[in-house]
Point group: C2
Chain length 216, copies 2
DNA sequence: TATGATTCGGAAGGTCGCCTCCGTTTCATC
DNA sequence: GATGAAACGGAGGCGACCTTCCGAATCATA
């Protein structure tokens, strides 16, 4: 077979269908959900799942890569905002909304980190986020003691409502508003305790590579 | 056997040991982790697990009940604070810390809600939390448009760092500080969008009983 | 529409974890 | 320390899920 040949139409359709159903199934039942169930939902046989993804990890990896692809789609709007502060708002809003709507993401990220600890395609965004924070702080709009990592953690926190089955998706922007009010530069802010983390630590954290609570 | 008789000492010890190891194991691998593994970690045979907990759900229920018991321990300090605002601070700090240190909790709560949808022992705290919010707002310290449910959601969000394997546990109080600064009453706050939720909705959300993202 | 290559479906074997069962051990009491 | 009751341990049957395999179906090309 020609390795560069484009796959047959039914193969491509099944591949996309499997990815889409996997996002839903893994979001509902976790990334250990039975692949037989995935086959049923996607309307294919079990064998077809394994032709497209040799094993569960290959499927998880591909979900991860498509998620990183999603991220690229957000960059123009967020970075092209008319002010640094507006970029901060968009960064929190757009990414938290995306995380909230992608409940399969946290588990997928953790699994990928277990498989390939040094695979960090998100690192390419670090400079952009740092620049966005610096711009908003230079405007005097964003409090001076927050770091880009702090904002990224807030995205994960706000997006964590996605773990709750979608019931809270219409409401979480109230918390976003509170957070944004807490990020505005103004007199009398409480200084943030401790030092901000480095991006590497943030990656390890959000992919759960750090120390476990108290394993044996 | 006498139903009120206190169990033998070895039985009580194994029971506690199993609960403790289950919290760790479920926190690391989810509540579907193999019970054989639990037996091994607790240093008992598989049969002993099933004598203490007829099935996995019984174990999950007991973990839930001990967690609700934990909650009672927090009430005196939080409600007895010298001001309403200080109560708000303590509420967010103590409970978020507890959630963050209990990564098994979210999954346990969801499972219990599936098993007993009307079992809501936490409802007894509603009045206390509402009172705490009212007091802080009457002081003019807490922004007027937040509800007790908003604060409870923030607790879950801040505590969600517990899902990340403990790597972020030393750092999340930076985000707590930002949130508290956003909760302070002051001129120029952005009004919170939409209406606050009722406690019933919050229960259903945090136990993931609401609608799922897009199940078939 | 004929042909060959590609993809599909689902049966079936293997593995892993659930849970039971009962001979053995530990505990409480005398 | 002797005795009965309670609890323990782990082997093993059972079922669910993973994964492979190959005849059948579908697609692309002429």
């Amino acid at each position: 077979m020609n390795p560069a040949a484009s796959p047959r139409r039914d193969a491509r359709r099944n591949h996309e269908r499997l990815l889409a159903e996997a996002r839903i199934l893994f979001g509902e039942r976790g990334i250990e959900a039975p692949l037989d169930e995935l086959a049923t939902r996607a309307g294919v046989g079990a064998g077809t799942v394994y032709r497209h993804f040799p094993n569960r990890d290959a499927l998880v990896r591909e979900l991860y890569d498509t998620a990183v692809g999603d991220l690229h789609g957000f960059a123009p709007e967020i970075l092209g905002a008319e002010s640094g502060w507006r970029s901060v708002e968009l960064y929190l809003e757009r990414l938290a909304a995306w995380v909230a709507e992608s409940p399969y993401l946290p588990a997928v990220m953790r699994r990928v980190a277990e498989l390939d600890p040094d695979y960090k395609p998100g690192a390419e965004f670090e400079d952009a986020i740092n620049g966005l924070v610096a711009r908003a702080q230079a405007e005097g709009a964003l409090r001076a003691d927050v770091t880009a990592v702090d904002l990224s953690v807030l995205v994960d926190m706000l997006g964590s409502v996605g773990q709750y089955g979608g019931a809270y998706l219409p409401y979480w922007r109230r918390q976003l508003t509170i957070v944004l009010d807490g990020l505005r530069a103004r007199p009398g802010l409480t200084p943030l305790p401790g030092d901000g983390q480095a991006f590497d630590e943030f990656h390890d954290m959000s992919h759960q590579k750090g120390p476990r609570p108290a394993a044996d």
